[in-house]
């Protein structure tokens, strides 16, 4: 690549312009998060379908796209998932170039900590799977973990002593807001309309076809409709009577005061329900497990602030003097097997759905958008999406992304 000296960064232009609401679009996408914007971007860029509107009830990135801890990785459990996320990882760089917008991919690697024999067995399986698929992954002993993460307590003192780690060098952190804005910029540049403050109130159908959506900005007709509303997808799908096996759960995250860089990798621990990384600004951004009960709120709770502190200082006592600055919450749309639902021709010929990403919605955003755009443009399911059909839940064929039999909310 040639180096062009330019002072582009000094030229301040709107990243995207507000557009008038047309009464009809070829494609309407519900949800102005990463998935919706990426789908719109690829529809316009890769397929030349520019008559596209993205409807967002708040502001773009209001939902999970702006509330996650921005961790990206491709060390999932099943080959179908690894392949998808691996392609997703490679897209950050491509998109940075395409969008001419620095998504700030910090390729620092991720370290998952195992605290039981069973977890270590699981990591051996993961590492073997990843390496076979050409995705780098390595099982580390506790000493090697401590070399990567200074301050980690690898003694027998913690409630859950560290037994091993799974290090995944291709992973890292991406600036989540930048992805939202960059995709909006790219989509708008190709003619996509982004309507913020546009709340979807109903979906109109006619026989086997979806004809349009009723919104707070009036009725908008369309030929094809995509539901990509993250944590709110169940509510939107319910407008056309589709019941999804998705439980929306609140998941919380927080940041500490900014510190000079000392944490050079993402680390996570299942036993403690903790994941943490240091942002470019120096804060320790850390996330917790999901709230136990199904709900649609973005409310943070005092419980998790305390829980997170307990877990972090048990794992890393050197953080005792650090202070929490901010806590927030978002929604995770959990499926029973922790894999997403990407479906087309869903009850109606022109209805598409991309939901159920749980807490993996950020890392998968662009790649999911890319393939959903293929699906919506051609009407043919891309091969890589075979594993993510809705019917697997009816057939009792879970994806195996989680080994454990999961329970959310109720016993069903």
């Amino acid at each position: 690549m040639t180096v062009k000296p330019s002072f582009n960064w000094l030229r301040l232009r709107r990243l995207w312009r507000p557009a008038p609401v047309r009464r009809h679009y070829d494609v309407v996408i519900i949800g102005g998060g990463i998935h919706g914007l990426a789908t719109a971007y690829y529809l316009a860029r890769a397929h030349g379908i520019r008559d596209v509107a993205v409807l967002e009830s708040h502001y773009i990135g209001f939902g999970g796209s702006g509330r996650n801890t921005a961790i990206v990785r491709a060390n999932q459990r099943t080959p179908e998932n690894v392949r998808l996320y691996d392609e997703g990882l490679k897209l950050w760089r491509t998109l940075t170039d395409e969008l001419d917008f620095n998504l700030m991919f910090f390729n620092c690697g991720t370290l998952m900590l195992g605290h039981s024999e069973a977890a270590v067995d699981g990591y051996r399986m993961l590492a073997s799977t990843h390496n076979l698929l050409g995705v780098k992954s390595e099982v580390l002993d506790p000493l090697q973990c401590a070399e990567l993460i200074p301050g980690l307590d690898i003694s027998d003192r913690p409630a859950f002593p560290i037994q091993a780690g799974l290090y995944h060098p291709p992973g890292g952190v991406v600036r989540h807001d930048a992805v939202v804005w960059g995709l909006a910029k790219g989509a708008a540049a190709h003619g996509v309309h982004i309507h913020q403050g546009c709340e979807v109130q109903g979906i109109d159908t006619d026989g086997s076809r979806v004809t349009g959506v009723r919104t707070s900005l009036g009725t908008i007709r369309c030929n094809r409709l995509g539901i990509m509303a993250g944590g709110y997808s169940t509510a939107v799908a319910a407008m056309v009577g589709i019941e999804l096996p998705i439980h929306p759960l609140t998941i919380q995250a927080m940041v500490t005061h900014p510190l000079k860089p000392f944490l050079h990798h993402v680390f996570s621990s299942g036993a403690y329900h903790v994941y943490a990384n240091q942002t470019l600004k120096g804060e320790i951004a850390t996330g917790a497990h999901m709230d136990p009960q199904v709900n649609y709120t973005n409310d943070a709770t005092a419980y998790y602030l305390k829980h997170q502190a307990e877990a972090l200082v048990d794992l890393m006592p050197v953080l005792r003097g650090v202070r929490f600055m901010r806590i927030w919450a978002g929604l995770a749309d959990m499926t029973p097997d922790m894999a997403p639902i990407m479906e087309g021709h869903l009850r109606y010929d022109d209805l598409y759905l991309d939901a159920g990403w749980g807490y993996f919605g950020f890392k998968s955003g662009p790649v999911a958008g890319k393939y959903m755009a293929d699906y919506m443009a051609t009407g043919e399911r891309p091969e890589i999406l075979e594993a993510f059909q809705l019917k697997r839940f009816l057939e009792g064929r879970y994806s195996g992304e989680t080994a454990a039999v999961m329970k959310y909310g109720h016993w069903d």
Partner: protein, 994 residues
Amino acid sequence: MAMSEAPSAERSPPPGRLPPGPTCRVDFSRPLDFTFLGRGVRGFAGDTVASALYAAGVRTFGRSLKYHRPRGLYSMEGESSNTFMAIDGVPNECAETTRLRAGMSVRAQNVRGDPRTDFFGLIDPFDRLMPAGFYYRLFHRPYGLWPLFQNGLRRMAGTGVLDTQHDHGRDGLRAERYMNAEVAIVGGGAAGMSAALAAAESGLRVCLFERRPWLGGHLAWRVRDFEGEPLHARAEALARRLRAAENVKVFTNSPVTGVWGENLVTGFTIGTEDDPFRECHWECRAATVVVAAGCMDRPLVFNHNDRPGVMQAGAAWRLARTCAVRPGWAAVFSVADDQSLEAAVDLSDLGVEVRGVADAREAGRQDPELVAALEKRGIPLLPGWAVSRAMGRRRVRACELRPLDGGGSSHFQCDLLVANGGMQPRIGVLATAKARLAYCTHTHTYQPAELPPGVFAAGSMTGLRDPRSIEGSGRLAGCRAADLASGAASDRRTDTARRDADALPGPVAGCDIRHGSGIGRGAKAFVDLDEDGTYKNVKESAAQGFDVPELAKRFGGFGLGPGQYRVTGQNLAMIMADLRGDPIETATPTTVRPPLAPPSLATLAGPGHDVHKRTPLHAEQAAHGAVFRRAGPWQRARYFSDDVTCRAEIRNVRNNVGILDSSPLGKFRIFGPDALNALQRVYISDMRKTRPGRCKYSAMCNDMGHLLDDGVIVEEGEDDYYFTTSSGRAGATVEWFRFHTRHDGWDYNLVNLTDVLGSLNIAGPNARKVLQRVTTDDVTNEAFPYMACRPITVGDGVRARCLRLGFVGELSYELHVPSSYSRYLWDLLMEAGADLGIRPFGLEAQYCLRAEKGHIIIGAESEARVTLTDIGMGWMWDRKDTASKKVGAPALRACEKQPGRMKLVGFRVDEGQGSPRDGALVVDGAEIVGYVCTTRRSEALGWQYGMALVCDGHAAKGATLSLQEEHKPGKRATFSATAIPPHFYDPRGTRLRA
């Protein structure tokens, strides 16, 4: 807490100090020595770190995040990171609020060496190259260079340095406290105290939280006469009454971190010398909350408003009045409210030369009394003026005042520039309590437009300024909260309080100044101090489409630093409304997020109890060298030696006799007329086939046919059953039964006996010999065959439920006794088996022993992709029974004949290879077709066995399985194995039945 006595003023004050007045909190008779950048500094008891440093002449406390500009003392309340310092090695400690202790070591942050001469200060002029969001448009071309820039950015970012080698001396006891109150009051000023007193009159439990060390709010340092006494005396009188009220608990030094759902008020208390803890995390569940959090100065946005020497009115005033520190020699004020004018008069009386007072309000809106007082002291008042620029490179040397409607400027030499845009309420508590806040065009502040149930607002934050109004509003709020909490209808007392409050002066008109004139011309005017967000950056954000506060906040970084919304919130909203040309009342503030004050992780974590359960035999096993590991809530013995293959433990069970503490096993009794119906519903087998004195093995599935639990069921009497579950399911079982029978109205009782009963296993060929020695009951094979269950008497008459099972594949007895007898039974068996060589074995040995036998463990050989039938346990399922509506049966039926499912197979690793480990893949060429659940080399068998879940095409008996592992990229190992039925050891079960 009593008001501290004014120290004797006989001696002249120390250097940098003013004569202590009646509101002084610093005790000059108690010097405290500490170091700043290694130099010795003297402060006094009652000082904060910042006040002591300021008195010692320190003006530059640190350097800013982005431009490395010198930053000084600004608020005295920790509203920005200006005075964040490293104290005793702990980074980001707020010097303004940290109480001084002797021997502290204080260092500046984000500097090399002395903050006055920071090398990176040379970045400052290059701000033109760094417009808002510049990093999104820079550094990524060519992409290969990005990692270099990224590392550079990382190094420049952040402030404090965390030492990962030490524990930071964050020692001292952390405490936790959980309280209930009918009325919680946030803020110990006049309004909060009045509310507490009013609520206490109803006899309710009242908790009052105040973040400062003393009560009184802003009255505590005001000496102005009001109704014949100084204001501080008025506050002291209230505080005395409050201390005397029996049902009021007062917490000073206690910032509130948030009000959460259902009025949960949380915060922490910073311990004093008198407290047994260093910091205490607390949570108060309150029926009602009165928020009287008071006001802070609204920062004034003008050129170079971040120079050391620019200060909030509250900060300069408090320095002088509570710390007896001279804030400056020559001061200029640019303010917009009467309280700040009072500060100017007061500072003048304390010997600070006030050279001019600009008031952004037009003439005639000032308190005439204060105008006269200024005039009397010869201080020029400039109504309709504001500061437009601070001058001086490292600190304020002069400033420029200008009329807001244009016109010529005036220059003043000064070393202190007190600036604000009037007062803004501390809206954080109300915001986290989910009050809806709206811009009020009278007070020009955010006011609660709608309060959630049980939340009341009072005091100066509602725009009141008259001390009587403030007290009256507090009293009214206290009465209303008490009425609501006690369920009483509004009583006469409340009506009186309302009438009184209505008769008093109402909210005072505020000032809507956005910024000083001439803003941004070749100078920086900061909207956000923490992350160096300037007025120009706000404009730049808007120009790029981020023209609502919530988006500008994220794009330009406003209110994301340690000060959060406090310095930035209202100004950003007002400026943005201006830039958009929107009416000011549409200005919406950004979301306030807890914690409102930053608690350290140590304080939140508290004493750090490691919560786990121990079995009754924990000590006995520890004495035998047990290595404990967490298993669910339990600490369980995993190994009894350093040998993690447990060869000796396994050998002893296979050839002799071992003893296992299986107490966490789930143990239940179910009885009642519908007990059998309930069992039929949740168990997959035909439960009518249970027999008295016989164990029936069965399993529970979920709706998807996944195996959830297995165990044995014994009929103990008519409609009376005893059953066991796996340890992991013990906690969920009762709820599981109740959920799946919730619509049936069945009459049964289900009792969880897990913790009530201890459980011990003895297993091995010599198990019977040991058991017979401790019981007089007949336990011969004829009298007590495999799968029998009956009570026996052991030792001196202890009744034990004895189950003859064979999980580990040997002759084995499981003895359930009341937990209190577990140790007796253990000792009895250990003694009886001593000559045989009985020894304990742990979970790992059990894991291997049962795997050799082909007995599965749920979660180890089952997962979310496989059902009961997939793992070869379909024989348990009573297919004919549809009447019971067995949980999971429809799914089992649907999945039973599906092709392409994973199946559990056993395998034998072919000889002459190494040993694969759990988690190895089963591959077919480059395709993954399954994985190894468990594999071990068995001494008893003499070969390596294992169990794997594989796709059904590879599950045929005799099939060759290719195993592959690659735990590190490039380090691949492959093995071949042969599929065999997963009954490796004693496949006919003769040893079980022996």
